[in-house]
Symmetry: C2
Subunit: 346 residues, 2 copies
DNA sequence: CTGAAAGCGCTTACAG
DNA sequence: CTGAAAGCGCTTACAG
């Protein structure tokens, strides 16, 4: 039976058991063994018992790759996010993983560091490994185009580049941004800065639109000098924010369009000696763990990353089940959590 | 050629191109196409050109599962961590992913939530998908036992349950813990509490041993009432810490053995009205992002998670290359970063 | 109820 | 330099 002795004198299998091994051990054909093991098709009770016992005994674990090859349907999904060190993406990945597992799927996960180029390279490994579909926070339209061309179902999360031709799960960016901006304006602030991510133009765009709408509604003139773009990296955001905050006509409030930008603002305020909220009000899009640890607590727009992840896998599995259905965009709710980083102007 | 028209009138492939498709398109056999595509074996220059052109034209992406089946060697590794929402594991996963990708491997990633039971279930999906090896932060010895039994190379990270029979990459827990404890004792503290994770007994054990050693070296008597175990969840840690801090003979310093425990202590100090460092000194094992954001900054033992991850994949690939070599434990250095959460006692 | 046969998409000696 | 054939581990009509 293909065994050899190891150092301890115990029998150790030289190779993994295959269905053929359990078939001969149980005295049946591979067909019958397969039927018993998968539970599909007829097999006599006593044969089934012998087969199951043999599988157990031989520690048989079916080869999922061989099964895929035959059935042409895999049980893994590709997940591509920007950066796991950013709590937003980590929680998103956690949410995706949990519901995927509950639905019987495993995850092939990769990070792209925000590079559109890297995304399509990784997309190629996804199609090579024949994932059932992919969930991505896109960096450009290229990845979705690539994936669609290869007939792999994809859902965009957080950012949307292929609106109208691909499923997406996003958050009500514009509405939330407008709510925050209106809130700050309502507090009496007239110089409300907006710090957006330069690399995620789409999301930045929606958040920007909400900001503009609030300004318009409040009759406050738009000042382009206080909406600034920063790279998605704390050091860069900090420097950008410090410059913004040290000018002569500095803003009295800043709305940071995501958690790393908010961290940059937080640190920059310290750098230039501004105290929050006395000298500066700040609100963040994304509620990261540190925001409730810090004093004063940071007021933030909370997104339920796990719910986003769950919605994305559910949408993906529906898409796989019905490839012809029209594309759907799911918009998840958002919640403004008030803490202590803002104050009303006299 | 198996095509049909879609709504736009453009030709869209009904199914993915196989090597057979590119072979017929190039007018050669599958064998020759395979040789040209993999770059192994002879093929005439003009034939190679036609084959490559056909592959490009047909957007051929080789089926990695079929290739695996034939070659019996896969290019993916399984990664199993406790909880991606914990920045330690997220960074560890990021580090693993980066070096795996640089080495040509992709990641099958899963979370176990700290459950030993879940770990072995997930390990089974890893063996079913025939990963080349797995990297795990073990919750018990079971997963390593299971994996070894199935002949899949494994390296334990952060925690070590199979010392002596399995590769591992850990941090100098005991030495770092002793350093921190000695530091606190040197500041004049006599009642130094230790908060450890009940579920990770091994790591907790090493960190505990370092604590004991420092106590002994300083001639300070050990008081079991101030070493307490807490579940690895902020709420629970907070409650445990609050109880610890509200007793009559409360500690003047606490050493939290990981970042969630530290967060629990931080919040509990606020809950019971103790100010840091005036009333209480605190040091954390694990340097999470929030610790430098908060005031006062939290003194912490920094582990380089990305380096841990890189070391783990390198070790795993060496193990795969040489299955017979003896098990190796790699101990990574640690760095105490001083901030402002401790003070000397008069 | 069972088994022989075909086939999923690849790669790899081997004969020419 | 090339192609026919075998085979990786499975599943699935189909004939009995």
């Amino acid at each position: 039976m293909g065994r050899q002795l190891n150092g301890d004198g115990a029998a150790a299998p030289t190779r993994r058991a295959t269905i053929k091994d359990v078939a001969v051990a149980a005295g049946v054909s591979r067909s019958t063994a397969s039927r018993a093991l998968t539970g599909r098709g007829y097999v006599a009770a006593d044969a089934r018992e012998r087969i199951l016992a043999a599988a157990e005994e031989l520690r048989y674990v079916p080869d999922a790759t061989a099964r895929y090859l035959k059935q042409q349907v895999s049980l893994s999904i590709g997940v591509l996010v920007t950066d796991l060190r950013n709590s937003f993406y980590a929680r998103l990945a956690a949410g995706i993983g949990q519901t995927a597992r509950a639905r019987g799927f495993s995850l092939v996960l990769a990070e792209d560091g925000g590079s559109a180029q890297t995304q399509v390279e990784l997309a190629e490994t996804f199609v090579a490994s024949r994932v059932a579909g992919v969930i991505v926070t896109p960096a450009s339209a290229d990845i979705t185009t690539y994936l669609c061309r290869h007939r792999v179902p994809v859902v965009e999360v957080d950012r949307q580049f292929a609106a109208g031709s691909c499923d997406a799960v996003v958050v009500a960016d514009r509405a939330a941004s407008q709510e925050v901006s209106a809130y700050l304006l309502g507090l009496g602030h007239r110089r409300v800065a907006l710090l957006v991510d330069t690399s995620t133009l789409i999301t930045g765009g929606e958040r920007y639109a909400g900001y503009r709408a609030a300004l318009a509604a409040a009759g406050v003139p738009f000042d382009p000098s206080i909406v600034v773009g920063a790279d998605l990296e704390v050091g860069a955001a900090r420097a950008t924010a410090a410059a913004l905050l040290s000018g002569p006509r500095r803003p009295t409030a800043v709305f940071a369009a995501n958690n790393v930008l908010a961290e940059g603002v937080w640190r920059a305020a310290g750098d230039v000696g501004l105290s929050i909220p006395a000298d500066l009000s700040v609100v963040s899009f994304d509620d990261a763990p540190w925001m409730s640890l810090v004093v004063p607590g940071l007021t933030a727009v909370d997104q339920d990353e796990e719910a986003l992840g769950a919605a994305a896998v559910n949408r993906l599995l529906e898409r796989i089940a019905d490839p012809e259905a029209g594309p759907t965009t799911i918009t998840m709710p958002t919640r403004l959590v008030h803490r202590a980083s803002t104050r009303a102007l006299p």
